[in-house]
């Protein structure tokens, strides 16, 4: 009886969230997938005729004259570039995030809130504004290059902007708090007497880190990495602005299909593939997390 009432309450509490997910997630994903199997209309939009052209085009180039297909890596390379850039950004975030989160989690309680707030303050500013600000700092006539040349360390400007380096840096900066916060949550719960125990049992620093700290950090690392990696793949502002629009990522390619190129089905197909890849990555990490969980127990 009690259990029954409990589930009913749970269903009631969940229903707003479920309704929002259904209306604003399932339905749009359904429409996107549906559109990816239709024909493009002349001036944008779709014609209601089934077609797999959008998916064929991902891998093959259709010859204009004889309609033959030949394998093309154009779009695969854009996908790979997006994955690599997002991966680099995730690694950078981990490198910066772990020490930062560790520092904050080991402050006295009163200071923690202040430090956490300081982490989030820059992110109250709109992403577009931050990205442009970053370009102004990194570019040839920006303060970094100006000061390096002023003190005589470099004779010409370093190529800090309008390249893949700037894009990676921009992505890492954009999503850094999403790494720091879950890591902080994981470290905060850490019982430091465990570390003392490890040292008492003659573990060196490295062994203590790998054997004691890392397993406790893992959920934070996994959560943080997903939160950085997934939005990173679809990012389009950083390549447009920091990359100078010279190389595109999937996000830009998708935008292009709905704008100048007016091929909605192809844009929808790219989105569908991107979502599928993301889903696979999520399921893979969830399974690994589940496995790791059973090992600990």
């Amino acid at each position: 009886m009690k259990v029954h009432g409990h589930t009913r309450l749970a269903a009631l509490l969940l229903s707003p969230a479920l309704a929002i997910i259904a209306v604003f997630m399932i339905v749009p994903i359904g429409i996107t997938t549906l559109y990816s199997f239709l024909e493009p209309a002349r001036y944008g939009g779709v014609i209601w005729e089934f077609s797999t052209d959008a998916y064929v085009r991902l891998l093959f180039e259709r010859d204009i004259f004889d309609d033959t297909l030949s394998f093309s890596t154009d779009y695969i390379r854009i996908f790979v570039r997006s994955l690599v850039q997002a991966g680099v950004a995730t690694l950078l975030c981990l490198l910066i995030g772990i020490p930062t989160a560790w520092f904050i989690a080991t402050r006295p309680d009163r200071q923690k809130t202040l430090w956490l707030m300081l982490v989030t303050v820059p992110y109250w500013v709109n992403l577009l504004v931050r990205t442009i600000a970053m370009l102004l700092i990194l570019r040839d006539e920006g303060p970094i290059n100006d000061s390096l040349q002023a003190i005589g360390l470099t004779s010409g400007p370093l190529p800090l902007s309008y390249n893949n380096f700037a894009v990676g840096l921009g992505l890492a900066y954009s999503f850094l708090p999403f790494m720091i916060l879950p890591l902080y949550a994981a470290i905060e719960r850490f019982d430091f007497s465990l570390l003392e125990a490890a040292y008492d049992l003659h573990a060196n620093r490295w062994k203590a880190f790998v054997g004691v700290v890392l397993p406790i950090l893992r959920p934070g690392v996994v959560a943080g990495s997903l939160l950085v990696f997934i939005p990173g793949i679809g990012a389009f502002l950083a390549p447009d602005i920091l990359g100078g629009g010279k190389t595109i990522m999937i996000g830009n390619l998708i935008g292009q299909q709905f704008q100048g190129s007016r091929n909605w089905p192809f844009g929808a197909a790219l989105s569908t593939v991107l979502m599928t890849l993301t889903l696979i990555a999520l399921m893979w990490s969830a399974r690994r997390a589940a496995k790791a969980g059973t090992e600990v127990v």
Binding site: P40, D74, E141, I241, G244, Q259
Partner: protein, 345 residues
């Protein structure tokens, strides 16, 4: 929707507080346009003369505007589409036939804007503003013959690495086609291969593809940049050594037009507005505010002196005529897309 109702309520509340205007109001006019494009003094004058309350919403791209119209979430009486978009809207039966050519003030429309490819009889649209897409050169750094696209595609050493191109598939590819003397809206794969080769060679010397062209030019990040004429003028205000170039190979022109979307609630007010805007003294307000030329004869007399003489607005006598390019066929659009994707890979 709730937000919209709230703003409407707020506007109503404001309206009733100023009794005079509320009493005279003969309805509303909802304008959907680019930001900072509708002169406030023009709106005030229209409101005063016709007793209509004007409300303005803005979009950031033609695509946003079209998708909003397609979704039926309109409620707008006036839209301001560019020439290619206008052609699409007419073809897709998305605008009202309002017979602009029969309006009293149509006589002020410059002959060159009467029979236009996107609306040959001017049945659906009236001119709002027009401009051009060419490029800007910093004459302090670049010397020699600059009236040619070779400045961009066969650059001298001081230009290499300091070129900014617009981040726009059509504008960039059309410019390359012009340099190669090939037809625009090209659907010939062999021609487009040449375009790709040219752009790939040039990319080595391109610093960025950025549509915000004023900033890189003023800061000196770029010494040559593709640009719209309005941006070029603003950039020159801050850096007098910049010069807007009308290359001898030709350049793209564009025109924004006033039109009435299908199903508009206040068609009569919209027609009044369109006729009103075609009066020279009113059209001049567009130029003075948005800093683009309008299409109305006799408006020059009302345009600010610093604008009427600006080289960005008046091409020199020996410059080629601006080329207006229709929306390309799906075949050529796909080729453009492929070239762009390969270029950006």
């Amino acid at each position: 929707m709730i937000l919209k109702n709230l703003t409407r309520m707020a506007i109503l509340a404001l309206g009733t507080s100023t009794l005079a205007s509320a009493a005279a109001a003969e309805g509303d006019l909802y304008i959907y346009s680019w930001g900072e494009y509708t002169p406030p003094d023009l709106v005030e004058k229209f409101e005063a003369e016709f007793g209509v309350d004007v409300h303005i919403d803005t979009y950031d791209s033609m695509e946003t505007m079209i998708s909003k119209l397609r979704a039926g979430a309109g409620g707008y009486d006036i839209i301001v589409p560019g020439d290619g978009t206008m052609q699409i809207l007419i073809a897709e039966n998305m605008v009202e036939q309002i017979d602009v050519h029969a309006m009293p003030n149509f006589e002020h429309v410059d002959e060159r804007w009467r029979e236009v490819y996107w609306d040959p009889e001017r049945e659906f649209s009236a001119p709002w503003a027009w401009g051009s897409t060419a490029f800007v050169v910093d004459t302090e750094i670049v010397t020699g013959d600059i009236d040619t696209l070779a400045v961009l595609f066969d650059p001298s050493d001081e230009v290499k690495g300091k070129i900014n191109m617009l981040r726009d598939i059509n504008d960039v590819i059309n410019m390359a086609l012009r340099y190669l003397d090939l037809p625009r809206c090209n659907d010939n794969p062999a021609d487009m291969k040449k375009v790709l080769a040219l752009l790939e060679t040039q990319k080595e010397w391109v610093k960025s593809f950025d549509s915000e062209t004023k900033e890189p030019l003023v800061s000196g990040e770029a010494v040559v940049s593709m640009s719209w004429n309005g941006y070029a003028m603003r950039a020159r205000d801050e850096k007098p050594s910049l010069r807007y170039v009308y290359p001898k190979e030709g350049f793209t022109g564009w025109m924004d037009n006033l039109a009435v979307p299908k199903g508009a609630q206040n068609i009569e007010n919209a027609k009044d507005f369109i006729n009103f805007v075609m009066a020279p003294e009113n059209a001049a307000m567009i130029t003075n505010y948005a800093r683009y030329s309008n299409g109305i004869k006799g408006s020059e007399a009302f345009v600010d002196a610093d604008l009427s003489g600006a080289p960005e607005m008046t091409p020199p006598a020996d410059a080629p005529a601006p080329e207006f390019i229709p929306t390309c066929s799906p075949e050529s659009t796909e080729l453009y897309d492929r070239v762009w994707t390969k270029l950006m890979n």
